[in-house]
């Protein structure tokens, strides 16, 4: 009995330990940029983000002007009990009492620091990164030494609104169209019903890459390229097959009696659809809506092609990719921008996790 208990405890330790390890592995990447987005611009470039955790590092306790000591930087020097050449002092030399002496700067106008190995945290948090990434105007950046640098803002604000204006209609339009079609496939009789439905299912296999070149040609001919309408329609087209298929699966299982009694009462198809079917299908509509919204919010390829030429209409993903391309080393901007681009999807994710999971189980996976 006793050994059984112990085995159980060990088992639970193994399960929870492994789980904790995996959770940490999965969370640390996101945590890294989240922490970094609040860090000072200079700090990000010179020390790892994990330095916000308590750690030990060399901290200056005293500064000495080497001229006062009268040492010759070209020879072997002795400062504070440490002996070495200039090059060795640049790396830092340990003193007998556990401190370190380091030469900062060049031989002529440098200074010498006496440093101590102490516990510290690096907590210079700021919101400047977000201000710069969000703003459309020039951003004045004050350096610690008092000089002022003007950098252009990254206009993430505008991109955010653009993404919203693309994502909301591109989510609602295909769902509305698909719901009408699914209703007709499920509850109406018309010639070619089966053939049309099989075509819809068959179109699930078509990767959207297939359509890009021909559609771009159409858009250029119609002068639609670079407009909201163009990208709404494109997302509608690419999401519609899956939406119709999923909503059909749901709507066709609704009980027949409800509809029949409504028809006997003289309701038209339109009334039945808007008053009965849509409210009853809310769970299915909601789970598909979440997925479609996230795909569009996170989409890069379609936006790149159909909105690519127009900086006015740039979306969040395009803006981010542009910053990566132009200023891939500016981590204070990249981290803040990445986090802004994630805010809405994460809110949707945490707020509507139940529908999210339900949608996945129903097959809301874009082929």
């Amino acid at each position: 009995m006793e050994s059984g208990k112990r085995q159980k405890l060990l088992g639970s330790l193994f399960v929870n330990g492994t789980l904790l390890l995996l959770v940490m592995l999965w969370t640390i990447p996101t945590l890294g940029i989240f922490v970094s987005s609040f860090r000072n611009r200079d700090d990000i470039g010179t020390s790892g983000w994990w330095n916000v955790l308590p750690h030990r590092e060399w901290q200056p306790v005293r500064e000495i002007d080497p001229k006062e000591l009268g040492v010759d930087p070209n020879g072997v020097m002795e400062i504070e009990g440490a002996t070495g050449t200039f090059e060795e002092f640049r790396e830092g030399i340990a003193t007998p009492d556990g401190k370190r002496v380091t030469w900062i700067g060049n031989k002529r106008i440098g200074k010498v620091e006496v440093q101590e190995w102490v516990w510290t945290v690096n907590w210079n948090f700021t919101l400047d990164n977000y201000r710069q990434v969000l703003g459309g105007q020039d951003f004045v950046f004050k350096k610690p030494d008092g000089t002022v640098e003007v950098v252009p803002g990254d206009n993430m604000n505008r991109a955010f609104l653009n993404s919203l204006s693309v994502a909301v209609p591109s989510t609602v339009i295909p769902i509305l169209i698909a719901a009408f079609a699914a209703y007709a496939f499920a509850w109406m009789n018309f010639p070619g019903r089966r053939a049309f439905f099989i075509t819809v299912v068959a179109l699930l296999v078509v990767p959207l890459q297939i359509a890009l070149v021909p559609i771009l040609r159409d858009y250029k001919a119609l002068n639609l390229n670079g407009t909201f309408l163009a990208i709404w329609l494109a997302h509608t087209g690419f999401g519609l097959a899956l939406a119709t298929y999923l909503l059909y699966n749901y709507i066709s299982t609704l009980p027949r009696d409800i509809l029949e009694s409504a028809f006997i009462d003289g309701a038209s198809h339109f009334t039945v659809f808007t008053q009965l079917i849509l409210p009853l299908s809310v769970p299915a509509l909601a789970s598909f809506a979440i997925f479609q919204f996230l795909w569009i919010w996170n989409d890069y390829l379609v936006a790149l092609i159909f909105l690519g030429g127009n900086p006015e209409f740039e979306l969040v993903t395009q803006r981010m990719a542009a910053i990566v391309g132009a200023r891939g080393q500016d981590w204070h901007l990249l981290t803040a921008g990445a986090f802004i681009s994630m805010v809405l999807p994460l809110a949707v994710f945490f707020g509507l996790q139940r529908y999210f999971v339900r949608g996945l189980l129903a097959g809301s996976v874009k082929g």
Binding site: L22, W26, T30, I33, V200, Q209, V213, F238, T335, F349
Partner: protein
């Protein structure tokens, strides 16, 4: 008296019938015209307006969503004005029509058109010619684009990389998903743990690329490393690398990109496996335990066979996904350093090089690669009767 009144009524009803007919006709013509005009005004406003961004966003949302609903309402109203027999005949097409038209325009016809374009050289079929003239023109190259697809070295590299993506990417994300699902099922912290693993699924590829670029960030050996991976490597005395751009280990540097997708997709497979595991009857597991099976035997002999269907459908889904992978590679490396995949080659040829014939051939090859996997996937999902 009665007669006259009847006649009056008859006349009135005739007049009112004519009037109502004219009224209906006018309505039938004017309502769609007005609606289209209003929609057109909205379109012009969105295209040319200098109004503040927030106003444009709001107008876009109202116009886009409201416009579609309005069109359905109008067409339904028009069809309902017709005699009953015609209403029954036409109404289904009002409901299905838009979906069929859009799917035709955006998916069905483009598939044929892309195939047609793939038979021509870089500018596609010459404009201003009829079908036969195009086929007999200089621009028609037959299947030689396809021959190039299967012989050009960059394309062969892309095929090799996509194979790596399939083998490592899909297999490992399925494995991790399964492991987490099984572990979480036995843990008190199931909900929290699953939320954290699932979280990356909501992050865009561009966002994920930034997150991982930051982990792979490279600094020369004598500078402090700000990228986590290089910091770990140097703290153990190794030399820092620019991991995805590490050309001397091609093709294995692709693994640094594949990791990103494993990180993104494991949560997806975890959710599906978690639901499937909950569907295993307790009696089955109990019976196994009573018969003396240990936990590993239960996992391999009972759980895996029981959720086999789910494993196949999840695996095929991730395979399709990795076949079409684009954003991660494009943002991380742009296809350099031996990391091109089919979709980035397609983009490069079609849009950067402007070689639409060749690009279209790549797209068709991608379609052909996806079809069997997708067929299998749909079959699995049908058998499980989802929803």
């Amino acid at each position: 008296m009665d007669l006259r009144r009847d006649m009056g009524n008859g006349q009135q009803s005739l007049w009112s019938r004519i009037l109502s007919f004219i009224g209906r006709l006018l309505l039938a013509i004017s309502i769609p015209l007005i609606a289209f005009y209003v929609l057109y005004l909205g379109f012009v406003f969105l295209r040319d307006s200098q109004a503040p961004r927030a106003v444009i966003a709001l107008v876009a949302i109202v116009w886009g969503v409201g416009g579609v609903a309005l069109l359905y309402w109008i067409f339904n109203g028009l069809v309902e004005m017709l005699p009953d027999a015609w209403t029954t005949r036409l109404l289904p097409f009002v409901f299905v029509g838009p979906a069929v038209a859009i799917l035709g325009w955006y998916l069905a016809i483009p598939t044929l058109r892309t195939f047609y374009i793939s038979l021509f050289d870089r500018d596609g079929p010459p404009a201003g010619m009829n079908f036969l003239q195009q086929l007999s023109s200089q621009a028609f190259v037959g299947l030689s684009n396809y021959r190039a697809v299967f012989t050009e070295s960059l394309m062969l590299e892309a095929f090799r990389n996509n194979l790596m993506w399939i083998v490592f990417g899909s297999t490992l994300s399925v494995t991790f998903g399964l492991v987490v699902a099984v572990l979480a099922d036995r843990s008190r912290f199931e909900k929290v743990a699953k939320s954290f693993i699932f979280l990356p699924y909501a992050i865009s590829f561009v966002g994920a690329s930034i997150i991982w670029n930051f982990i792979y960030e490279y600094r020369p050996a004598n500078q402090p490393q700000v990228g986590l991976l290089n910091a770990i490597v140097t703290s153990f005395g190794g030399t820092p690398q620019a991991w995805p751009q590490w050309v001397s280990i091609i093709p294995w540097n692709n693994l640094f990109l594949i990791v990103i997708v494993i990180w993104l997709q494991a949560g997806f497979s975890m959710v599906l496996f978690s639901a499937a595991l909950k569907g295993i009857p307790d009696e089955l597991l109990e019976a196994g335990r009573i018969d003396g099976a240990n936990e590993f035997q239960i996992f391999f002999r009972i759980m895996i066979p029981y959720i086999q269907g789910t494993i196949i459908s999840v695996w095929t889904t991730v395979v399709i996904f990795t076949l079409k992978i684009f954003d991660v590679v494009w943002v991380m490396t742009g296809g350099q350093f031996g990391t091109h995949v089919i979709a980035t080659q397609f983009y490069r040829q079609s849009f950067t090089n402007g070689n639409s014939g060749y690009g279209s051939a790549i797209a068709i090859v991608l379609l052909i690669a996806v079809i069997p996997v997708m067929y299998y996937n749909l079959k699995q999902f049908r058998e499980q009767e989802a929803f």
